[in-house]
């Protein structure tokens, strides 16, 4: 099979850019699962819903998609906080099966609420500041994708700083290390869980606002985002921000290569293939919880 | 070597076992024997590698180097259920009972995997429940048991599998002195009447010094002392290890 070098470079560039976003989306999950050990099977649906809210606000207020972040960031924090308190907190001490089960319920609920509200046709944001293209040699890079990638990386490292250098971050990590000790030191563990869950959701909101500058959303989009995030967390979620970023980039590039050399219709299949390989090569026990 | 160990067969023999977790050496070239029919105490401060040693013996961890022999047979790296079927039983440090099963059903699991004919299973279950004194509770769900009953059930489950060697991980933890005395009586009965060799990991010193015929001390993955309880209690290295750990 003949593949032009141009096409290959173009797809790798696209892969690297989208990989940064993948990492940001997965970071929300890495916070919730990797740090706090909360299983959220509906993570992808949270992403999908955030994309719809971006679309909705942009459409009804007539503002560019990326500006909706001013609203979606706080809205999603509250949303995450409330979902945690109302739903996940009820099963936080129950076996993992209950946590998976209840978030599967959430998944089905959010997916079909989106279907009811916006129907099955894909929706796209009409206006954005991020238009135009940049030529880097033979590779063409849309401004929207480039900015999105840069924002993703910046947010990731900002988060890294928060987790490692601030009082808040240190108490989060202390809680994840030893819940009982943290409780004795005066940390309200339950509220900490809710806050971190909310923060994880806010990160999703940032990602969603920028993804909508170059992608459409439909009610079924969540599943792919969810699986993608879990794959990244499996690959590098416990290794902190750099691990997540590296895993995101690997996935993005792998997808780019798949599109170049095989069938674009099967592009999501490559993610699952990587997922299986990761599970295969990581030593036993790393994946079991508790 | 101690007199009481001479001339007896080792039922379990651990030779030069090393186990690492990343940079941490949990067990460092540990040699360790359990003799046929004895009650052995395995002690050591927190992080000494006692539970790790149990996990290596029962096949949950594979050691980086060294061998484990059971009744003269190399069992290094075999799967836990295979080791169980060869005749090693175990209770766990954090006892997580089979919540959804009744006591009788829980004990049946052990019996099913070790008794060939179907009628034998029921007989074995009955026998063990009677011996441990759990018959009145046999139809109770495990989630409705108290701590003493949970520990007795765990013991009954393990015994139903007819082990020649039983490893008990902190079975006395959380019990009152009266309950511990009861437990000592029961364990001695298991040892003398059924001939089961016992190896106990324990923090409760009074308990271990009372019940053990022989004691082995681990400290940071190294065996530092071995002998009768009286001798070990006077050993300088042991005293240092415990005081240093406080």
């Amino acid at each position: 099979m003949f593949v032009s070098l141009n096409l290959l470079l173009q797809n790798i560039a696209n892969g690297l850019l989208i990989g940064c976003v993948y990492a940001l989306v997965a970071m929300g999950l890495a916070l919730q699962f990797g740090v706090m050990n909360v299983i959220n099977f509906a993570h992808g649906e949270f992403v999908m819903l955030a994309m719809y809210i971006t679309f909705f606000l942009s459409f009804s207020l007539g503002i560019p998609g990326e500006l909706t972040l001013l609203f979606t960031f706080p809205i999603y924090f509250v949303f995450g906080y409330v979902v945690y308190k109302l739903v996940i907190d009820k099963v936080i001490d129950a076996p993992a099966v209950s946590q998976i089960g209840i978030t599967i319920g959430l998944l089905i609920l959010l997916q079909n609420l989106a279907l009811a509200a916006w129907k099955a046709e894909p929706k796209a944001v009409q206006s954005t500041f991020l238009t135009g293209k940049i030529n880097l040699g033979s590779v063409v890079v849309p401004v929207s994708r480039l900015v999105t990638a840069v924002v993703s990386v910046v947010v990731l490292f900002l988060l890294n700083w928060v987790l490692n250098k601030t009082y808040f971050g240190v108490s989060v990590r202390a809680t994840s290390d030893d819940m009982r000790a943290a409780a004795l030191m005066g940390v309200n563990v339950r509220r900490m869980y809710a806050v971190v869950f909310g923060l994880g959701c806010s990160i999703i909101a940032i990602a969603a606002a920028f993804i909508m500058t170059f992608q459409q959303v439909n009610p079924l989009a969540g599943l792919t985002w969810g699986l993608l995030s879990w794959v990244i967390v499996a690959m590098g979620g416990l290794g902190g921000v750099t691990g997540v970023l590296a895993s995101g980039l690997i996935l993005g590039v792998a997808e780019g290569l798949e599109i170049t050399f095989w069938d674009p219709r099967a592009s999501t299949a490559i993610i699952y293939l990587i997922f299986i390989l990761v599970l295969w090569f990581k030593p036993k026990g790393l994946f079991g919880r508790r | 070597m101690m007199n009481l160990s001479r001339g007896r067969d080792a039922i379990l023999e651990v030779k030069g076992v090393t186990k690492r977790f990343g940079g941490l050496v949990a067990l460092n070239k540990v040699d360790f024997q359990v003799f046929q029919g004895e009650i052995l105490g395995l002690i050591g401060p927190n992080g000494a590698g006692k539970t790790t040693l149990f996990n290596v013996v029962t096949g949950f961890y594979k050691p980086e180097s060294g061998k484990v022999y059971f009744k003269g047979r190399d069992i290094t790296g075999k799967l836990p259920h295979v080791i169980s079927r060869l005749g090693i039983g175990r209770t766990f440090q954090v006892v997580k009972p089979f919540y959804g099963l009744t006591v009788e059903e829980a004990v049946k699991v052990g019996a099913y995997n070790h008794v060939k004919e179907k009628e034998g299973v029921g007989r074995r279950v009955k026998e063990v429940l009677e011996f441990i004194g759990l018959t009145p509770l046999s139809n109770r769900l495990c989630k409705h048991l108290n701590l003493v009953e949970i520990k007795r059930t765990a013991l009954a489950q393990a015994l139903a599998a007819k082990p020649d060697l039983l490893l008990l991980d902190e079975i006395a933890a959380g019990l009152t002195p009266t309950e511990i005395n009861e437990l000592i009586k029961l364990l001695r009965k298991i040892n003398s009447e059924w001939g089961t060799t016992l190896c106990l990991v324990e923090h409760v010193m009074k308990f271990i010094m009372n019940i053990s015929q022989r004691v082995t001390v681990l400290h940071y993955g190294v065996k530092i002392a071995e002998g009768t309880p009286q001798k070990v209690a006077r050993d300088k290295k042991v005293i240092d290890a415990y005081l240093g750990a406080v």
């Binding site: 299983i39 099977f41 739903v87 009820k90 099963v91 129950a94 993992a96 099966v97 089960g101 209840i102 599967i104 319920g105 959430l106 089905i108 609920l109 997916q111 079909n112 279907l115 129907k119 599943l223 699986l227 499996a234 219709r265 099967a266 999501t268 299949a269 699952y272 293939l273 997922f275 299986i276 599970l279 295969w280 994946f287 079991g288 919880r289 | 029962t58 949950f60 799967l79 836990p80 259920h81 169980s84 079927r85 039983g89 175990r90 009972p97 089979f98 959804g100 099963l101 009744t102 059903e105 829980a106 049946k108 699991v109 052990g110 099913y112 995997n113 109770r140 489950q157 139903a160 599998a161």
Partner: protein, 326 residues
């Protein structure tokens, strides 16, 4: 096996035999109850891996899809009777499940990772059949239209399928009872409660889980073949992850590990959801699924043991029990 244990099964099946006549053989209603039976079969089979073994399997969509394609391809390409095709469907599903399951259990995949690996298998198969033009491809492939033929197992009404699925449900429940009473059942329950402790009692955890998975995937594959016969065509969309999710929802809501509650819950919940869909589904698409999502969350918060605990309380009111039931 204790004959007494089979009495409820006989009652269950005999009662269901009268359902189509009660519905006046109305084709639309019979179709609805036929779909209910399809889900009841899969949920009852799922109980073996999900309820007994405690593995949250989301691969039902894959086994249903493989069932559709195995039977459908044999029939369309080589004119093989579905009677053989149905069995072949079960075997193909088992084969696939065994490969996935062996790897998953060998590498210790549990909980969320097992759930993800199984739902990923549904998506991968769907893409695979979409790209594989010889057998799959994006267009529907229709089964031969030979109504009233026993050889082709194609009928002008849905009633025959209803009775075939009812027989399959009886088999599935019978297998549930048999597993629960056998050594395998005890091994699975022990693995569900505490895998390490179970292994230390001599339970081969990997093998028991694999056996449970194979029983479940066989029944689901067979049900999948019937699904395709009812639909009349095969298409990659039959690798449907919403089937996976729905089955898990019904299994959990019904009560993990209880034998009659999960299929009984399918009848109750599916009827309610079908009612919702036919009444307000036109205004609110997906309303029946919203209902499922809410029911699942509410159940897990308020009655974590599922509807089976409610059924049990009801039956205890009328019949004092001699022992606690696990």
């Amino acid at each position: 096996m204790d004959i007494d244990k089979l009495k409820p099964l006989v009652v269950f099946v005999v009662v269901l035999c009268f359902l189509p006549p009660i519905l006046g053989f109305n084709n639309y209603y019979v179709l609805i109850v036929t779909y209910i039976l399809f889900y009841a079969v899969v949920v009852s089979a799922w109980n073996i891996i999900g309820g007994f073994a405690g593995q949250l399997d989301l691969g039902a969509g894959a086994y249903v899809g493989l069932g559709c394609y195995a039977m459908g391809t044999l029939l369309i390409k080589w004119n093989v009777t579905p009677w053989i095709g149905i069995i072949a469907s079960g075997i193909v599903s088992v084969f696939f499940a065994a490969v996935i399951g062996y790897a998953a259990f060998r590498f210790g995949l549990k909980e969320v990772w097992y759930a993800l690996a199984t739902i990923a298998s549904v998506v991968v198969l769907q893409k695979f059949f979409l790209v594989w033009e010889e057998v799959g491809g994006p267009a529907e492939r229709y089964l031969p239209v030979k109504y009233g033929s026993i050889y082709y197992l194609r009928f002008a009404t849905y009633t025959p399928y209803y009775y075939i699925l009812l027989a399959l449900l009886a088999i599935s429940i019978f297998i549930n009872i048999w597993v629960r009473e056998s050594k395998l059942g005890f091994d699975l329950l022990a693995v569900r409660e505490n895998e390490e402790a179970a292994e230390m009692l001599g339970v081969d955890a990997r093998m028991s889980k694999l056996k449970a998975l194979m029983i479940y995937s066989f029944l689901t594959g067979v049900a999948g073949a019937l699904y395709a016969l009812i639909a009349g065509y095969i298409h990659p969309s039959q690798f449907d992850n919403s089937i996976s999710l729905e089955v898990a929802v019904l299994g959990i809501v019904g009560g993990l590990g209880s034998i009659y509650s999960p299929p009984a819950s399918v009848f109750i919940l599916h009827t309610l959801s079908e009612y919702l869909r036919s009444t307000i589904g036109a205004w609110i698409p997906g309303v029946h699924l919203i209902f499922y999502g809410v029911v699942l969350m509410v159940t897990l918060i308020f009655i974590p043991e599922g509807l089976s605990s409610l059924f049990k309380k009801l039956s205890l009111k009328y019949k004092p029990s001699k022992r606690e039931i696990g």
